[in-house]
């Protein structure tokens, strides 16, 4: 178990270094950092000095090492477009994105798993058809279009819900939250639904297909032959076995939710990291882009690691703490 964690950690560090290398390459070679930082009237002399001061004349390996050291300490550089430290920008935006992603993921799980189980257990019922139709629409409707339709119906026509922003937020020092105010909750409903809809259909389809697969296995057949109740067979045995692969993929989806938040944040003008990243792309604001990339990669890697460990906790076959009898 510990060996596994260490091996995974090392792999994660390799992935992070690879991503940092991409970030560094972007930062260093896409456009000229010096030209971005100074005005037109800066003399060549001053430029050369700045170049020297920024260490841009050092060996590439040294520069990369410095870059990794910087981002490890949370120094992400200065935004070209806004002229503020990227770390500050991200710290301001992070809570909004994480809250939105969290609520969306919760919604997707709480609705998606039961829907998937139901459709697998009752493949011919009417409600199954309804769920499957919803899932097809959920996968085919572009996320942004779902958001727009919600705004049109609940915001413009019915006037029930706010159509942009986070509502009133409470400042907790390092963190600002919208989940402590009524207007915050009202504001997060539509964005979270929009963001969670795609994941919901994914989780539902996944649970359904895994469960159908598990229901065909010998041990389920044997569980029925032992006369266990339907409840025990379906939930105690089939669902538990279904959840092993579902945990993996759902965990990995958490990372995607944070990435997909870009779209939702644009539709609802949600002041999160996605919106920041998008503006960075439009202005070719490389430090922000590179930092966002590194940060997202960090999320992915951490989630991957957590999922791997969880997986080993859930599935006894992967635990190697007890000897396997030979022969």
């Amino acid at each position: 178990m510990i060996a596994l964690v260490i091996r995974r950690l090392l792999q994660s560090i390799v992935v992070m270094l690879a991503v940092a290398l991409i970030g560094f390459t972007l930062f260093r070679y896409v456009g000229d950092p010096v030209a971005q930082m100074v005005g037109q009237e800066t003399s060549l002399q001053e430029r050369a000095e700045l170049r020297e001061r920024l260490g841009l004349n050092d060996a590439v390996a040294v520069q990369f090492g410095r870059y990794v050291g910087d981002i490890a300490r949370g120094r992400f550089g200065i935004s070209y477009a806004i002229d503020r430290p990227v770390a500050d920008l991200i710290a301001e935006r992070l809570p909004a994105t994480l809250e939105l992603s969290f609520v969306a993921a919760l919604f997707a799980l709480i609705a998606g798993i039961p829907m998937g189980v139901y459709t697998a257990l009752h493949p011919t019922r009417l409600l199954t058809r309804v769920f499957l139709t919803i899932s097809l629409i959920g996968i085919s409707l572009p996320t942004f279009f779902i958001g727009i339709l919600l705004i049109l119906v609940f915001g413009v026509w019915l006037g029930l819900l706010p159509t942009f922003g986070r509502g009133a937020v409470v400042d907790l020092g390092l963190w600002t939250t919208g989940l402590l105010t009524a207007s915050g909750w009202k504001s997060i409903l539509m964005p979270a639904f929009t963001l969670g809809m795609f994941q919901l259909t994914l989780i539902m389809r996944l649970v359904r297909s895994e469960m159908l697969e598990v229901l065909r296995t010998d041990y389920i057949k044997f569980a029925r032959a032992r006369g266990l109740t339907d409840r025990a067979v379906n939930f105690g045995h089939a669902l538990k076995n279904t959840l092993v692969p579902v945990i993996t993929i759902t965990g990995l989806q958490l990372g995607s939710i944070i990435a997909f938040a870009i779209i939702t944040e644009t539709v609802f003008q949600w002041p999160g990291m996605g919106l920041l990243f998008l503006q960075a792309i439009q202005f070719a604001d490389i430090p922000v882009m590179a930092s966002y990339l590194v940060l997202i990669a960090l999320f992915f890697v951490v989630i991957n690691l957590a999922v791997d460990i969880l997986y080993h906790v859930v599935d006894p076959r992967l635990r190697i703490d007890r000897g396997v009898e030979a022969g």
Binding site: T163, I262, Q282, M289
Partner: protein, 315 residues
């Protein structure tokens, strides 16, 4: 045998085939195929079946702006689905937009397939370090959503390419970004079938008699991987169209001079609150219908090619 008799036999064989049987047995699949075909044809012939060229400013009249659909009050038969803020006929704009969406979609899938199939063949056939490297890159890339990769490529292109030529190159950048973000599934599948085929006797035999590896791969291995590739390409087309629409909606996709469906939705979003809902809803519905239909076709193809899922004869 006369040509007609031969044709009849071919038709009879097709109709006897399991794929055809599955196809006609599912009314939804037939409908999806019809919708896809209709949209593709309409997009293809858009210049000839639309009353207006929405890209030509000379044909637009600002006085026609914000005309509602024909059934609403103030509707005009010249603009069945209404007009946007520029006085552009929405019906014409949508078909031209679908043209761009489909063009980018098809081109990106072709690119993704070309990259993926090549890398998959190379990885599967050569094995060893080459295989490990390619598949490791694939593993890392697949754990990030395609849209993020495409956004990143697009962003980098903005930084690298000269700004004044950006609009001109935007379509190519877009195709490259979407194509490069979608190759992994192709590579994985093709590598899988290559590994299987590689050890088949006829491939071994070909190798023994000295046929070049490239020839073996092209003649023997590739054809066997075509079924799954077709399935991935179909589902990939839906994803590519969706990605293009999303990027364009985010304002980093096609240039505004050549609006795709996503661009139209982006434009229309600004008029949500002033009541001109049709500018956003109609392009959105067309886009959703297109993606849904292609997805359904992909689902059906996948099931049809996957014998495990097909209801077989019981033992």
């Amino acid at each position: 045998m006369t040509a007609i008799a031969r044709l009849r036999r071919t038709i009879a064989r097709v109709r006897d085939h399991d794929l055809w049987h599955d196809f006609t047995a599912s009314r939804i699949t037939v409908a999806a195929a019809a919708v896809t075909l209709a949209i593709v044809l309409a997009a293809l012939f858009a210049p000839w079946i639309t009353p207006q060229n929405p890209f030509d400013p000379a044909e637009l009249d600002l006085l026609d702006a914000f005309t509602p659909p024909v059934w609403a009050e103030g509707g005009d038969w010249r603009f069945v689905l209404g007009t946007d803020d520029q006085g552009r006929d929405l019906y014409s704009a949508m078909l031209h937009g679908a043209r761009i969406s489909l063009l980018v979609g098809f081109a990106s899938v072709l690119l993704a397939a070309a990259i993926g199939v090549t890398l998959g063949l190379v990885a599967g056939y050569s094995g060893g370090a080459v295989d490990a490297t390619i598949m490791r890159i694939a593993d890392i890339q697949i754990s990030f959503p395609a849209i993020l990769i495409a956004l990143l490529i697009d962003g980098v292109a903005r930084g690298v390419l000269p700004r004044d030529r950006h609009d001109e190159l935007a379509l190519y950048v877009l195709v490259f970004a979407i194509g490069a973000s979608g190759w992994v599934q192709f590579a994985r599948t093709v590598r899988g079938s290559t590994l299987v085929e590689k050890n088949r006797e006829y491939v071994q035999a070909a190798r023994v008699i000295g046929v070049r590896p490239a020839a073996i791969v092209l003649r023997h291995v590739l054809p066997n991987a075509m079924g799954p590739v077709l399935v991935i390409a179909t589902i990939g087309l839906a994803v590519a169209i969706l990605t293009e629409a999303t990027l364009s909606f985010l304002g980093v996709g096609v240039p505004p001079t050549q609006p795709s469906l996503g661009t139209l939705i982006d434009i229309g979003q600004d008029f949500l609150f002033s009541g001109e809902w049709w500018i956003v809803v109609f392009p959105g519905v067309l886009l959703a219908a297109l993606i849904l239909a292609v997805n359904l076709l992909g689902d059906w193809l996948r099931d049809a090619f996957n014998p495990k899922l097909r209801k077989g004869v019981a033992r």
